[in-house]
Structures are given as structure tokens and as C-alpha cells.
Amino acid sequence: MQPILQVKDLQVSFQVRGGEVKAVRGVNFEVGKGEAVAIVGESGSGKSVTAQTIMRLIPSPPSIIKSGEIIFQGNDLTRKTDKEMEAIRGKDIGMIFQDPMTSLNPTIKVGKQITEGLIKHQNLSAKEAKEQGIEMLKLVGIPNAESRFNQYPHEFSGGMRQRVMIAIALACRPSLLIADEPTTALDVTIQAQILNVMKDMQKKFGTSIILITHDLGVVADMCDRVVVMYAGKVVETGTKWEIFQNPQHPYTRGLLRSMPRLDQKKNEKLIPIIGTPPDLIKPPAGCGFCARCDEAMRICEQVDPEVTQLSDTHMSRCWLLHPMAQEVKSS
């Protein structure tokens, strides 16, 4: 598959008073054309920072891209100027945020918020932009699009606002959509609707999607591949099936264990991952997860694990997968 986005060894830090928070510490992944990739991980694992760095939305300072490349359609986004990024944002990459209640401007009509990008990127007249804006509202499933177009965000419900956000993000038919926890703030029935809208759009426009979430149910529903992040690193990636049926990293297994399943027995308890993620001002020398890992070995504390390639699509970063560890296990 032809990747449209390749993130190579991305490292992002934040300068704070106490030092430097190494939020993203060498992240690699790619997104194919028309593919939906999920980035999962708990809060503070660096998934949102990664996504916003792709869009270059985090002001710098305090954030610094320490190293790495973000290759999007052949260009390295880390080298773009702000002006050049303006031409890419909204046009080639669209973004949806977590909380639809706060991500729309309360004092501007919804329609205008959609057409703003269209007018900027496609040089449309106000009238053409309005037609397209109404078209977008219809596409994301907002009834009475014509009259809704002239309403303000407070006249919309949460789910409807998130649809509007999708309409804004996809108005210029970007080739990549980054959805940063798009369903976290919504209730479950609305979540399913929003995911369906996104799937429809993906089918219709062939948009690639990066879906950031900590909801594995959403991942199963929506995505082809999964990137599991922990403490600023990718600890495991693979296709949806590889991750759900054959998780190799203890953290991934822990995530899956802590999620309720329908086929679970009544008296079976969920097993949480005990402890908290490491302080990223002073990240551990070894594996970031070893303090919480019940299978940790001595080497895990000292040396960061290498990448083990398990199949063409499946890789994990854990010492347990090292041939020597396998020997110990089987013996």
C-alpha cells in the first residue's frame, strides 16, 4: 500500500519550568491511502501530541520537534514554514477534536464556520461556498441543512456539533483526517452515529484516517491498523486482528484485559493496569512500561527494548519477544 503519511523517529518535547517533558520519544508509523489507523494509549502517552504535531498545531515554544520527519505526500512537514502549513491545514489534512461543545466558535454561524476554509483553499465565491457548505451538512447527516446553515452552535446538540466539525474538517476533501478522540465526549448511541458518519465519509472520499482514542471498541469498529503508544513510544503496531487476537506487548494485553467483553463470565473481574505512567521529564532508561509490567526482567529496567518484527504488519517493542527470552520461557 502506498503510504500518504510516514512518521519517522518523531521526537517532541515541551520546555517547562522543571525541565524538558519528552512527550514523544521516537515514534514511527505510517498511514496508507484510504486506510484508517488507530492510535491508542492512555492519557499522557503522547498520542494527541503526535497528532497535533503532524498538523503543527502546538505552538513552539513551548513545544520543540527534537528530531524526526513527518513525510506527507512526499513533503516533510517538520520543515514547512507556518505560511506553508496554512495551505496544507484544512485543505490536505483535516482535524476533528474531542469536545464538540467547545471546538466551534459560539459567536459565528455554523455555515460560515464551514465555508471559511472553502473560501480560503478553493477560491470559491461566497455563494458557491454556501452551496458546498450545505452539501457538506447534508452529507454528514444534518437534517434541514439549509436552515441549519444559518444557525449558531448553541442551537445544535453535541452529536450534531460533532457532525458539523466533521463537515468542517472534510469540506475541502482532505486526503487525511485526524480525529483526536472524536467520540470521547459523546454518549454511546451518538458515538456510534458519529463513527458511522466518519466511515461513510471515508468510503465516499477515500480519506485516510488517523483515529486517536483510548476506546478499543471504537478501534475494532473503525480501523484497519492499530498503533499502541505508551510513554511517548510506539510499543506495538499491527493490524486490528493481530492486536486484538494476538497481542504481544504486556501493555497491549493489559489494555485488552481491562476492557469489559460481552462473552465475559459474570463473576470474572476486570484486571486494571496498576500504577501510573513514568514521569517524562526523567524518562526511564529501559522500557517505559517496566515499572508496571508483571513480566518485567532485569534487562527491561536497563535497556530500552528493540523492535521485534513479528510479521509484515505486526511489530512490538518488548524484551520478552527477544529470542533469548523465548528460550528462557520454553525451558
Partner: protein, 310 residues
């Protein structure tokens, strides 16, 4: 909208009535009367004058008579400045006060918002710190102290401006500075904090994610939302500037409404006190009403009346 204004209007009449009654009682509680002066006025003449103006009658009678006249739009004539109608006096002296007030209000809003925005954009940088230090000084120095300082340094010592009077455009500079220092400081702080809040809000991120250029984001998304708290302050600010101008006009020797107001009190010029008080009251209430209406225009979430829901 119309219903909203009508109901506001009703409340305005009620509060005006309360204002009139309280002022009337308080005013009568001040010892002395309009006809006392350094020269001893023979009691018989005093008696005569009191009778002429109806001041020898019991308080409630005077009050009812005043209300009756007021209802007919008659503010009476000044008791001190012979044969001058109160409304003529007010209108005649309102000009300089109005000009001064409007200039001070405009300067306060423009400079205040400008300073606040600069401070927010250069958050925690030199400009921000300087602006906020100025704001603290502006808020804590009373306008009459500032007025005297300005007079001393800029007029007396530097000789750039005149100490007194209001004859040329340049003469407006010092009184306006003295009047608007406090509102500027207040608005600057208000604008700064609300701009900062808006700048960090999610919808600015959305606007950025659309690829809009920064000046457009600033103009379309930041300023309008950041300005809202400032609009609510415009009503109280008008009050602030009006009450401030009573003192400032006195200091700069400007023959405006404020000066008439102060002298009317020391003269116990009852009809004039009432007239000016009512006039100020009406200005303040109208300013409040205009603020409410402006607010509804800026923020679509605010509905003035229970109109139909979209």
C-alpha cells in the same frame, strides 16, 4: 426585542421613582436652605422666600407637589440662580460634559482594548508586564490625584497644556487622561484575561486547523469573543466616568454639568439638585440598556426576549 425594551423601560421608571424619593428625603435632611448666606438675611425676608417656593409646607406636601410638576415635565426653576429654569441650566451646561464624557469613553475603550490585546498576544513578555503594571497604577490612583499630578507636571512645569479651562481641543487632553485612566486600566485587564482565555480555547485550534491565516483568526474569532466581557463593563464605566467628571470638571474649572451639580449641593439649590440627579440617573439607565442590547448583538447565545427557539 421590543418587549424586552418595554419591560426595561418599566423598570427604569420604577428605579427613577425610587431615586427621586430617596434623593428628595436626603436632600432635605441637609441642614440649611437656599436662602442662607454669609450676610444675615432678615428672618421676615427668609420667611417670605420660603413661602414663595413652597418650602414652608410640610415635607410630604412638597414632595407630592414636586412629583406632580415632574409628571408634567416641569423641573421648576433654580432657587439660587434667579429666573433660570432647571432644564435650561442642565441643557446649557451639558455640552462640555457630554463632549468630555464621550471622548473619555471612546479613549477608554480603544486604548483599554488595545493594551489588553497587546498584553494577551505578548503574554508574559515585556509588553505584557509593562501594560499590567500600568494597569495596576491606573486602577489604584484616584482620578483627582492623577488630575492634580497632570496639572502640575504637564501644565505647570512642562507648559504643554493649560491648567484650567476648556477652550481649544488641546484643553481636552488632561481632563480626558484623568477621566479615562481608571477605565483604561480596568478594560485592559478585562480584555487581556478574556483574550487569553479565547486564545487557548478549542475553537481557535479549530480555526487554525482550517488553515486560516493568523490575522483572520485574530479578527474573526478572537476579538469578537474576547470583547464580550468588556461590553458588560461599558455600562458601569459610563457611571464611573460621569461621577468622575463631577470631580474632574471642578479641578479643571470646566463649566459643565458636574460643576453645576457640585455647586447646587453647596447652595442647597433643591430644584437643581433634583434635576441634575434625575438627569444623571436617566443617562446611566440608558447606558445600561444600550449595553444589554449591544451584548445581545455580539453574543448570539443571549436572547433579549423569549423569541422563538430555532
Amino acid at each position: 426585542m421590543v418587549r424586552f425594551i418595554l419591560s426595561k423601560f418599566f423598570y427604569m421608571i420604577v428605579s427613577l421613582f425610587i431615586l427621586i424619593s430617596v434623593t428628595f428625603v436626603l436632600m432635605k435632611a441637609i441642614p440649611g436652605n437656599p436662602f442662607m448666606s454669609e450676610k444675615a438675611v432678615p428672618p421676615s425676608i427668609q420667611q417670605h422666600l420660603m413661602a414663595k417656593y413652597g418650602l414652608d409646607k410640610p415635607l410630604y406636601e412638597q414632595y407630592l407637589k414636586y412629583l406632580g410638576n415632574l409628571a408634567r415635565g416641569d423641573f421648576g426653576i433654580s432657587m439660587k440662580m434667579k429666573d433660570q429654569g432647571v432644564s435650561d441650566l442642565i441643557w446649557g451646561s451639558f455640552g462640555p460634559s457630554l463632549r468630555l464624557g464621550i471622548i473619555a469613553i471612546v479613549v477608554s475603550i480603544v486604548v483599554g482594548i488595545g493594551l489588553g490585546m497587546l498584553a494577551a498576544l505578548y503574554h508574559r513578555k515585556l509588553i505584557d508586564n509593562v501594560a499590567m503594571i500600568l494597569a495596576v497604577i491606573g486602577m489604584s490612583v484616584p482620578s483627582f490625584v492623577l488630575a492634580s499630578l497632570l496639572q502640575f507636571y504637564l501644565a505647570q512645569k512642562a507648559g504643554i497644556f493649560k491648567v484650567m479651562g476648556l477652550n481649544g481641543p488641546l484643553d481636552y487632553v488632561l481632563p480626558v487622561m484623568a477621566l479615562s485612566a481608571q477605565p483604561i486600566a480596568f478594560i485592559a485587564r478585562l480584555a487581556r484575561s478574556s483574550m487569553l482565555e479565547v486564545l487557548h480555547s478549542e475553537y481557535i485550534k479549530t480555526a487554525k486547523a482550517k488553515g486560516l491565516a493568523w490575522p483572520i483568526i485574530m479578527w474573526r474569532h478572537v476579538i469578537r469573543n474576547g470583547i464580550m466581557p468588556v461590553v458588560t463593563y461599558v455600562g458601569p464605566m459610563t457611571a464611573n466616568i460621569i461621577t468622575g467628571s463631577v470631580v474632574i470638571e471642578q479641578i479643571f474649572g470646566i463649566g459643565g454639568l458636574g460643576k453645576i451639580f457640585v455647586s447646587s449641593i453647596s447652595n442647597r439649590d433643591y430644584t437643581l439638585i433634583m434635576g441634575v440627579t434625575i438627569f444623571y440617573g436617566i443617562i446611566l439607565m440608558v447606558a445600561r440598556l444600550l449595553t444589554d442590547i449591544a451584548y445581545a448583538f455580539i453574543d448570539p447565545r443571549i436572547k433579549l426576549s423569549k423569541g422563538k427557539e430555532g
